[in-house]
Amino acid sequence: MNTSSPALLDARVVLQRGDLNLDVELSVQRGETVAIMGPNGAGKTTLLYALLGWIPIQSGWVLVDNDIFEAPGQDEVTPTRERELGMVFQDGLLFPHLKVIENIRFGTNKDDDLLDLLQTLEIFPLLKKYPSELSAGETQRVALARTLAARPKMVLLDEPLALLDLSARSNARNMIQTALQQSLAGALLVTHDPADAFALAQRVLILEGGRVTQFGTPDQIRAKPKSRWVADLMGWNVFYGVGQGSSVGLESGIEFATAEANLSGKAMVMISPSSVALFVERPSGSPRNSWLCRIRRVEYLDGLARVSLFGPLDIYADITLAAASELDLTPGREFWVTVKATEIQAQVLKTE
Amino acid sequence: MITADNGLTRCEKNVIIGLLATMLLASCTLWGCGQREDATRVFVASSMTDFIEELIAVDGQNGSANATDVNIAGSGTLLLQINEGARADVVILAGAEYMEELNRTGDFHPPTEFAMTKLSIVIAPDLKDKDLTVRDLWSGKFQGAMCVLSAPCGQLASQYAASQNLDMADLSLEPNVRAVLAKIERGEVDFGFVYHTDLLSSTAGVAEVQGSGASKFSTSYSFAVSNNLKHSAQAQSLTNAITGEVGQRILEELGFNQP
């Protein structure tokens, strides 16, 4: 804990709640958006509630803008309403008995100017409506406006886009981005959609089973997933085997050569589908990491072909459409599958 | 969904079971499960409660009170029940008017008067040393109570009031004489019209207003026997007990007078 930290939020949250054993340390810089991702039950929402002071923490600290809300040896815990943290709930949670404008005005001073906010979030046509008359997308915009109108030092968003359909989503995402930039507040965004996380956040925190498994920029996460869950999320190929020196051997006898050294014991191998190359002839220069596999299925996605192969290795390869048109990707055909050793992420698994 | 053998879902079965149970319950209510049809049914005016209970307790050994169902209510209510078809073998009512009405149904033998009691004005325990007269009670400082006019005790009180030129509008009309007495005993009202017998039965220290002239007004009790009896022997035995030595002794103990 560093009290002179320039971070907007500096917190360590330790608490036990049911099956969940949460121990998270995180920071958010001024104007920064940090996304929190993780499987269900990882403690994402609990973490937000703890930061708000809605769920008590058992140890750790919560500092916002150098105000100490909770810290070891401090008896007095700052109540939620004095924390100046805004919260946007998954379902918006607008007050059903109040019109949109009354909802937005709930936490504001009488003469606060909301013009820019209402314009950015396109709320003017909704002002006189009741929450029950709004669509899911409109509800989330109003919920965000209500939160930002109270001028919080920081905004917490709990899956704000989860209930929106795909078409409304990118529009809402853009609005949230603009609104967050305008408000200059920091934000913590819980989401399960990597598209939201990577579009809105400068850093992404991966929370699994109450622990942080990775905390880095979207590029870092994309380039080097550190856990099975993230690798799956990115659509990566994941294998388990036994590490020895720089290689990992699978039960099937397949051996991966990696750029790592000193691997030993149980290890996980992660390979991005875009790092997997297909050749009709066996490549001559690179004898390692080459296997003869058969095509099972081909899916054409946005700008690329995703090829599912089987054989000694079950693996996905992402091929550009140009490359795909040169190759004859008929199911049943055989191809040489190769991966550069430097493109293979290998990681020793902690034994517990 | 789990399907039972006969093709009904468990949910539908529950509904059917519920329906059957309801039918059973309804038929029970309408046909009278558990009504003791062989018992002699006695309808008793509420001011006779003590008497009939004691009579049954004392005379029970003789068998007269065996299998006796006692229904206690105000005389007016009893009449309403009988008029609406309730079966009564023996009816004990207060006041001659109600007896006449009962007679008009034609279902009963001519009544027999067996006791009478007088009207009393009674004051609350904490007023008994103040030596109050009726005029004092009507000075506006005191709250009074009497029976509703449909009860014989209420009729007596209003006859008394008419004779004395007293305005009864501010008195609370209680459902029966027991309620009047209870309120006087607790001091919730200052005075009230009850029967002399109730005054005697009270242990709470209430006192009678002397020289009020209320004792000139009295009501009589009589019984009538149904002329459509199923168990005439039992009913006969009960009426014999009332008019006989046992009944008269109990009446005297309770402070009733001979008619």
Partner: protein, 259 residues
Amino acid sequence: MNRLPIGVRILAVLSFGFVSLPLLSLLWRVPWPRLWTLVASDTVTDALFLSLTSSVFAALLALALGVPLALQLSKMSGFAASIARAVVVLPMILPPVVGGAALLFAFGRNGLVGSLVADVSGVVLPYSISGVVLANTFVALPFVVITVEGALRAIDPRYALAASTLRANSSAITFRVVLPMVRPAVIAGGFIAWARALGEFGATITFAGNIQGKTQTLPLAVFVALESDREAALAMSVLLISVSLIVLISLRERWWPVR
């Protein structure tokens, strides 16, 4: 539209018949040609006026007392809450007459609190319209508490969290969020309390007495008349039923918690 199983529909019809049949039979007996003359008497108009005023005041008082109680109960859990809830609901279960007697012991002239109040302020609650309102409130209060607390517990607690993050303190959460959200339940509770108070008999006659023009509400007047003048009693019942039906039908959704 999705239809209910036949069994449920049959039961629904039976139960509606069970409720409406006695009411129809009552209307069957009403002396319609003489209705107006019977209803226009002083006794009836006094009683109607008294019933309407006292039941409205009782409903308002039950709301004023019941809503804070419901708020408190909704925050409580565990054994203490179970006990508190059982005590609050007791007046619903208690025979109203017992409730009236209990009120006398507490607020009567010689009651625990009543004697103190009488000494200090000279106000005596029984035998006054305040007594009627108090008795009605006593029996109507549980209906408000149950209705409102049920609604309070159904509110997502995150609404309070949302309000807190918008800088609302506890009174803002209560008055700007929670209470407005349960407004339909508060209104419904008020109407159910009013309906209960309008028909209240036992606690009123026991606690407030039965003085014509002062504490004799319509149900009390019906009771008095039932034994002396059946036709008048029926006429008053029709009046009571009509007034209630007019109010309940004209306010439909406001008292029946639809949605």
